[in-house]
């Protein structure tokens, strides 16, 4: 195998020629653009404008989101961020508490104002699927496209397998008991949306009727409870909207059962055949529902929607567009990882597929309680290079939940936050992996975004979180490039692309990413410690910097090494895996080297040789594991100051 396949010869991604031409053309026609992204905790504003003869990013500012009382109006936070932007740039963007539109001859004001938002809580969704092994995974994949929180699952094969005939399935007393049990389950945590899935095209309809009956019964009771609550000026969730994504043959009967009590929106079958899957229509329907039901609930929406050009786009949709764009225009197989206060998302776009996973309930502030409940305390603690009790971690996480805007005061606090971020990303990646039949996803460009990753004090900390949490295998090329969206422009540029694709791609190329470096991933099986405690050498890498300077390093199995390689430098590699170890899709033990002109590029971290194997093997013993973490963190210069000694 030839490692020269690594297609990253330029520190900047090349802009397609047509985009370059269009970008130049836009310079004359588009003035200043103000893009805001309203998160659940922070509101960020970015200003783009003509600089010289180019369309460029000018500055970014942020303020706390003001969705909650006493403001209860996000426009206050937008205004604060814009005022901050005015202070940074010295440019006048507002006048009499209003945005100055259009741009004036003296450069003040803006021509275009666009907005993305993730400030609204996730849609509460119940998945009602015929089978837990076929239709449910497809339904889970579909809900991953937008901000959703799966509050319950109902599957027909749960406790009702013994019922064989249609009569049994609908009318027997066992079926009645099952019906009641599932209805109660739905009512215990009432959803806003029920996604009904199951049955291949032309298959039996009774199982879907059965699910519809559960949803109808629960919807009727929810409607009743909502009515009772409304009479006392209280609120209770009304009947859910049912998205029907099952066997189309059953739709007329299902609609007859459901329409008296719930709104039904039909989309093409998620699984038209046993081996075929189409999640896009259901995904699109859920995204529409989020835009329809949730985005307008953002306090201050009526005013904000009048200010902006076009619709206020969900942040996830705009970020997803960037991954898609990188694959389509640059041929880069990309994974974007976004760790937010309320949500954690992954957006994958490679040659074969395009998969979003948005965990609308898991995050590193508002989403912490859900994160701990799903992943458990031990899974978070394993990432720490120091001792912390489960009790202290719980107290820490709940304190962060009740005061989400706080920043880590000490290096220890920062390390805990990073450990939580690892697990949040792990929770999202597990869903992605489940949807890919348990296989790892293929990508060679990994971009981190969101406040936690963007504000990592040291680049090595961000690189470590991405590598530990997602454990890229770098199948194929053998390497993965790491970058961070430190300016947090990804959602803004995704949104700008709707209005001016050329300008968005031009700015993305020049101003968006901070390159961390290139990671070479070595895979193979060996015990972490052999006789005498020394692990075998997994790989020997010789790095020859363009312009001079050669380094040769031996990396033992289970360890990671970082070799400095500046962002403006490139280097040729000669990689010699030891017997039993391989890099990318190369054969075990076979050497690889970069071809001339296809050298790897550097970054703020440099060349990372990750010989820890996949999946990572963490020591069982606490002391040994903490020592292991110290070694790994130390390699990245990511160790909290207090733990360095």
């Amino acid at each position: 195998m030839n490692i020269g396949k690594i297609e990253n010869t330029n520190p900047r991604l090349k802009v397609p020629p047509e985009a370059e031409t269009e970008a130049s053309a836009t310079v004359a026609t588009v003035g200043a653009t103000l893009a805001v992204d309203i998160g659940s905790l922070n509101t960020r504003a970015a200003l783009f404008d003509v600089v010289g003869d180019e369309y460029r990013f000018v500055a970014r500012a942020s303020a706390l989101t003001t969705a909650e009382s006493p403001y209860s109006d996000v426009t206050a936070g937008v205004y604060n961020a814009v005022r901050d932007l005015e202070a940074i740039t010295g440019r006048k963007l507002t006048e009499d508490n209003r945005l100055l539109v259009p741009q004036r001859d003296d450069g003040s004001g803006i021509d275009l104002f666009i907005a993305t938002a993730s400030a609204a809580p996730a849609l509460r969704v119940t998945i009602a699927a015929v089978s837990s092994d076929i239709s449910e995974p497809s339904a889970l994949q579909a809900v991953g496209g937008t901000y959703t929180h799966v509050v319950s699952h109902i599957t027909l094969d749960e406790g009702i397998k013994a019922l064989s005939t249609d009569y049994d399935l609908l009318l027997s007393s066992a079926a009645a008991a099952w019906l009641q049990e599932q209805t109660d389950k739905l009512l215990a945590v009432p959803p806003e949306v029920v996604l009904i899935a199951g049955g291949i095209e032309g298959g039996p309809t009774v199982p879907l009727l059965r699910l519809a009956k559960v949803v109808a019964d629960a919807a009727q009771e929810q409607a009743h409870r909502a009515e009772l609550a409304a009479r006392t000026n209280k609120q209770a969730p009304g009947p859910p909207i049912a998205i029907y994504a099952g066997n189309s043959l059953a739709l007329p009967q299902v609609a007859r059962v459901l329409t008296p009590v719930a709104e039904v929106r039909a989309v093409p079958n998620l699984r038209p055949g046993l081996t075929t899957e189409q999640t896009s229509p259901a995904e699109e329907m859920l995204a529409n529902l989020y835009r329809e039901k949730r985005v307008p609930q953002i306090p201050g929406y009526p005013v904000l929607s009048r200010w902006v050009e076009g619709a206020i786009a969900p942040t996830a949709e705009s970020t997803r567009l960037i991954a898609r764009f990188l694959q389509a225009h640059y041929g880069r197989e990309t994974l974007i990882a976004d760790v937010g206060a309320s949500a954690t998302s992954l957006f994958l776009a490679n040659r074969d597929t395009e998969v979003p996973v948005v965990r609308g309930e898991i995050g590193v502030a508002y989403g912490l309680a859900n994160l701990l409940a799903e992943r458990g305390l031990a899974n978070v603690l394993r990432w720490l290079p120091f001792s912390l009790s489960e009790e202290d971690l719980t107290n820490w996480a709940l304190n962060k939940l009740i005061r989400p805007a706080g920043l880590p005061l000490t290096a220890r606090d920062l390390a805990i936050e990073h450990a939580l971020a690892c697990e949040a990303l792990g929770a999202a990646y597990d869903v992605m992996k489940r949807g890919n039949a348990g296989e790892d996803s293929r990508y060679d460009l990994l971009i981190g975004t969101g406040g936690l990753l963007a504000y990592c004090p040291r680049p090595g900390q961000a690189a470590r979180i991405l590598l530990d949490a997602l454990q890229p295998t770098a199948e194929g090329l053998g390497s993965v490039e790491l970058a961070i969206d430190t300016t947090m422009l990804l959602p803004a540029l995704g949104n700008l692309a709707h209005h001016n694709l050329a300008a968005a791609s031009y700015i993305f190329d020049r101003d968006c990413l901070m390159w961390l470096g290139t990671a070479i991933v070595v895979q193979g099986d060996a015990p972490v410690a052999t006789v005498g405690g020394e692990p075998p050498t997994a790989v020997t890498v010789t790095m020859e910097r363009k312009g001079g300077g050669t380094d040769t390093i031996d990396v033992p199995y289970g360890q990671i090494r970082v070799v400095p390689l500046r962002p403006d430098q490139r280097a040729a590699l000669n990689i010699k895996p030891s017997a039993g170890f391989r890099v990318g899709s190369g054969e075990p033990g076979k050497s690889l080297k970069t071809e001339p002109g296809q050298e790897i590029k550097g970054g703020l971290v440099g060349l990372i040789v990750d010989a820890r194997g996949r999946p990572l093997t963490l020591a069982e013993d606490i002391d040994m594991r903490q020592a292991q973490m110290k070694r790994w963190w130390g390699a990245f210069d990511a160790l909290p100051v207090s733990e360095k000694t």
Partner: protein, 391 residues
């Protein structure tokens, strides 16, 4: 980074003129008049919650025509039905049952549509003054506005709704915890003030002795979990609508069937989870009114209508009071601040340096910061978001 850090609401506001609208959820009769002096338990307005009839499609439940259904009704107009009680039944193969979704009176069956109606009984509803004060305005048909000079303290989270009672200080300092073995019958009917952490045992003992509530600095997550009867970390999940909450009520409510705590018991935590002492300024503000009647509200919501628990101490004097809007402590040189950072909860300090522009803080995170000096002379660089100005 932002140059603007809003202080949404001061957590300690002394000598303010507090006004609260007390409203019924539905129109009713107002029982007070403007100028009247009210006590916390006085009923300001009352009404009856009448229920709309609940329509049940009995024919659809039985999968029969309306006429055929009429013959299978098991209740007659005027009959009392229980929730889940049988209204009609179709026997034999394919037997079906129609059940009442609510308890109430079966008011009749419509043979044209196949539907029946159940009317749930009316329930009385009232709103009390909650505060000791003066009625300044009457809200016709709904309630009244009560005004009183007061000290207002906000906690960080709590349990229970509105309650009032005599406040009893059970500790001598802000860093002392309430020991269960020192509790006795004297806490009955009172709202007690502790200092640092409180245990589940102490909370249970307080309930057993008839205390109405407790205000304290902190509680360990495990103790609160034990007290609430939580089943592991799953019970802490947020954003899930359950037990009539909107999903962001905190701590997440348990279903009423599993509730281990009386719904009217109030717990207010001022600092957070762990073992932190109560902020000294908060402690002194409340403790100075030992033996006086106070009003508390423990309800907390983190999102979708943020609300924090409140402690209202009505004051006797009627002069030198300020409007709540006049209190806006700022983070400035020399300001007294309360630390909100983990590990430093409950501590106060003074700002000794306020650098302009973002700076690297102790953790390395770059943010707007302040250099503060703690009571023991220790100096620290703290992000502004981890500070709260106090007067």
């Amino acid at each position: 980074m932002s140059i603007y850090y809003p202080i949404p609401q001061p957590t300690i506001a002394t000598n303010i003129l507090l006004r609260r609208d007390r409203r019924l959820p539905v129109p009713g009769e107002v029982l007070v008049r403007a100028g009247a002096r009210v006590e916390p338990g006085d009923v300001v307005a009352q009404s009856m919650l009448t229920s709309e009839p609940v329509v049940v499609n009995i024919a659809a439940d039985l999968d029969l025509s309306p006429q055929a259904t009429a013959r299978r009704l098991l209740v007659s107009p005027g009959a009392q039905v229980e929730r889940g009680g049988t209204l009609a039944q179709r026997a034999g193969r394919g037997s079906r049952v129609s059940r009442s979704p609510v308890a109430g009176t079966f008011s009749g069956y419509d043979p044209a549509t196949g539907t029946g109606q159940i009317v749930a009984p009316s329930e009385p509803v009232s709103v009390t003054a909650h505060l000791k004060g003066i009625v300044t305005d009457v809200i016709p048909y709904y309630g009244a506005t009560i005004e009183t000079p007061a000290n207002l303290v906000r906690g960080i989270f709590g349990l229970g709704g509105e309650r009032h009672g005599v406040m009893k200080v059970l500790v001598t300092s802000a860093d002392e915890s309430i020991a269960p073995d020192r509790l006795d019958a004297r806490v009955a009917y009172s709202i007690v003030l502790g200092g640092s952490e409180i245990t589940a045992d102490a909370l249970r003992k307080l309930i057993e002795l008839g205390a109405r509530g407790v205000i304290t600095g902190s509680i360990r997550a495990s103790e609160l979990s034990d007290f609430l009867g939580y089943a592991g970390l799953d019970s802490w999940r947020m954003g899930v609508v359950r037990a009539e909450s909107k999903g962001w009520d905190f701590p997440p409510p348990t279903p009423s069937s599993e509730r281990a705590v009386p719904p009217d018991f109030v717990l207010i935590i001022t600092e957070g989870f762990g073992t932190a002492p109560m902020c000294r300024r908060v402690f002194e503000t409340i403790a100075a009114y030992d033996g006086q009647e106070i009003a508390v509200d423990g309800s907390t919501r983190l999102r979708g209508g943020l609300s924090r628990p409140e402690i209202i101490i009505p004051l006797a004097r009627t002069t030198a009071v300020r409007r709540p809007g006049e209190i806006s402590p700022r983070l400035a040189m020399g300001s007294q601040v309360r630390l909100l950072a983990q590990g430093y909860l409950g501590q106060t300090a003074q700002i000794v340096e306020l650098p302009t522009g973002p700076r690297s803080s102790q953790s390395g995170v770059v943010a707007q910061v302040a250099d503060v000096q703690m009571a023991d002379g220790q100096k620290m660089r703290v992000p502004l978001v981890d500070l709260e100005a106090i007067e």
